[in-house]
Symmetry: C2
Subunit: 341 residues, 2 copies
């Protein structure tokens, strides 16, 4: 059956201690001996029994999740999922801590990350905000040998090990494709409402959206993006104003988290005059709007999947294991009212 360290020791003609030294990269093994052991390992197809190893080590992985204390439904969902993971953590030999930081604040985020280093956790997951200080903080974490994963929002060019989130550019393209087709050949204007162009996700979504609009739906006239900082009242106002000013708005793309406000504005429009609406993130709000035909499609990233994936990847990094790539790719879910989960 499955070969053990004992089998390797016997096969290589060395003692168990030497095998252990080779396996765990400890010093005190001559080069030739090390090679003999490695030869035996690969020829027997030995794989370390992670469960037994963890038991022996008594190791519990310690991870820190740095999350913005931003109270939109999606971020609340992320926090809930982390808490769910924490409640399961007993059985999974993981200890997870949440650190909250103010949203959209690179300095505060970098500060929080820097403060984590002395605790020497095994891994850190955080929602990235762009900024040189954040890049530096990531480098600091990596220098301390801490695994780093970005969550929801990425930090390309940094030393992070992995990004657990969606391709926002592709999400924007998908939104454009849906909106273009759902408007069904009619001409008209398209309004885009965003939170802030300072946030990478929103910017990327817009880029993708505009690209496809230009390529495939030239008949549609995309209005300049409206930024309303995901604030419900402001969003409602801005959307209302746009709909009033341009009666030929036949499509609306809400790429941020301002859905509540947007819906408020939409309800004031007569049913048959309502534009086609594509929004992001399946929450109680968007779910209800989907079933009442106020929103036509919702693009979603599965918060549970993202959080679980981040944890799996962190564990994998710590153990030096490979991950199942397909399992860790976060999909851009499209929900119509008929395929809501």
């Amino acid at each position: 059956m499955k070969p053990t360290v004992h089998d390797i020791a016997r096969s290589a003609g060395v003692s168990l201690a030497t095998v252990d030294r080779v396996l765990n990269g400890r010093p005190g093994v001559r080069h030739v001996t090390r090679e003999r052991v490695e030869q035996a390992i690969s020829s027997l197809g030995y794989v370390r029994d992670v469960a037994a190893a963890n038991l022996a080590k008594g190791r519990t992985y310690s991870f820190v999740f740095v999350l913005p204390n931003y109270d939109n439904s999606f971020m609340i969902g992320i926090r809930d999922e982390v808490h769910a993971a924490i409640s399961r953590s007993g059985a999974e030999r993981t200890q997870i801590r949440i650190v909250e930081v103010p949203p959209f604040d690179a300095a505060a985020l970098a500060d929080a990350l820097n403060h984590i280093v002395p605790d020497r956790p095994d891994g850190v997951a955080f929602v990235a905000v762009e900024g040189l200080e954040v890049h530096a903080a990531v480098a600091g974490l990596k220098d301390a040998g801490i695994a780093v994963v970005t969550l929801v929002s990425d930090l390309p060019g940094s030393e992070r090990d992995h990004f657990a989130g969606i391709d926002n550019h592709a999400a924007g393209r998908t939104a454009a494709n849906l909106l273009g087709r759902f408007t069904g050949g009619r001409d008209g204007r398209i309004a885009v409402i965003a939170g802030s162009m300072l946030v990478r996700d929103h910017r990327e979504r817009l880029e993708g959206f505009l690209a496809v609009m230009g390529e495939s739906f030239a008949r549609l006239d995309v209005l300049p993006v409206m930024e309303a900082r995901d604030n419900p009242a402001l969003t409602a106002e801005v959307v209302s104003a746009a709909l009033g000013r341009y009666p030929d708005i036949i499509g609306l793309y809400s790429l941020g988290a301002g859905n509540r406000g947007m819906l408020h504005a939409l309800r004031e429009v007569a049913r048959e005059a309502r534009p086609v609406v594509v929004a992001h993130e399946l929450t109680a709000t968007t779910r209800a709007a989907l079933s009442h035909d106020l929103i036509d499609a919702v693009l979603n990233q599965d918060a549970g999947h993202e959080v679980r994936s981040a944890i799996r990847v962190l564990k994998g990094k710590v153990e030096g294991l490979s991950v199942i790539a397909a399992q860790e790719r976060i999909r851009i879910d499209i929900f119509l009212k008929d395929n809501m989960p």
Copy 2:
């Protein structure tokens, strides 16, 4: 830190052996003592360390996957995923065996399931075909204490523990919704091509499709479903004939696995006269067709997710553990050319 059996023994004032008897339902414990131990377990919040337990037991889970030797891309994908799981199984204390059966053959499937019982595996996953003998076979497996999961195609009303697959009714509804909207207000006919109405998945998809077509898109005239047993040549012929006979076909729903044949027929139609096409399962074929605008949307069930989910659920059943419901729900993925993974 995490309480162990030793802590419980101490807290309940009994020996380790007694705790073990209670934990593993072994006889030889007085009622009052058992209660004292259970009290200690719940008050300390003890959870058994599954890794340590498996190590001690030396247990390896043995599962059997019963799959049709049906060579469409999707089933090949399922088999590949099972093989991938097998190759990982060393590290996961699982031993997985594949049994192949002829497709759409209830008697052969039941026979295969019955033959598995004497091997006494811990769990069985199979692609269901309807039939009384299959229900009986499932009952036989359950009587033998074997966990049973249906994969891709369900067997409602049977004693199976879980279904790892999508809601095909909802998939059909989603297809109708997409097709209805993508045809953009135009009138015309819709053609539906299926494998066989004898297969539950196909039947359910059609039901859902027709329901939404009737509810929301009365302007579209759905032609009687064409069955071509997922045979490429036959499918091509049937689709070609339909497109020739009804020039006003503006939408096509391929709910089975006959995509290759359907695409062959579609390529003979001038680009601008092509209908809107919704198909199932993201394979190399449909993926290419999506990027070349031959297919407009693909509904997909993630084979990898289904297989991994089936294994997780089987393990959970054997261990008497609960599963993360959200993680085990197989989504109906919608892929446009922009959000293909």
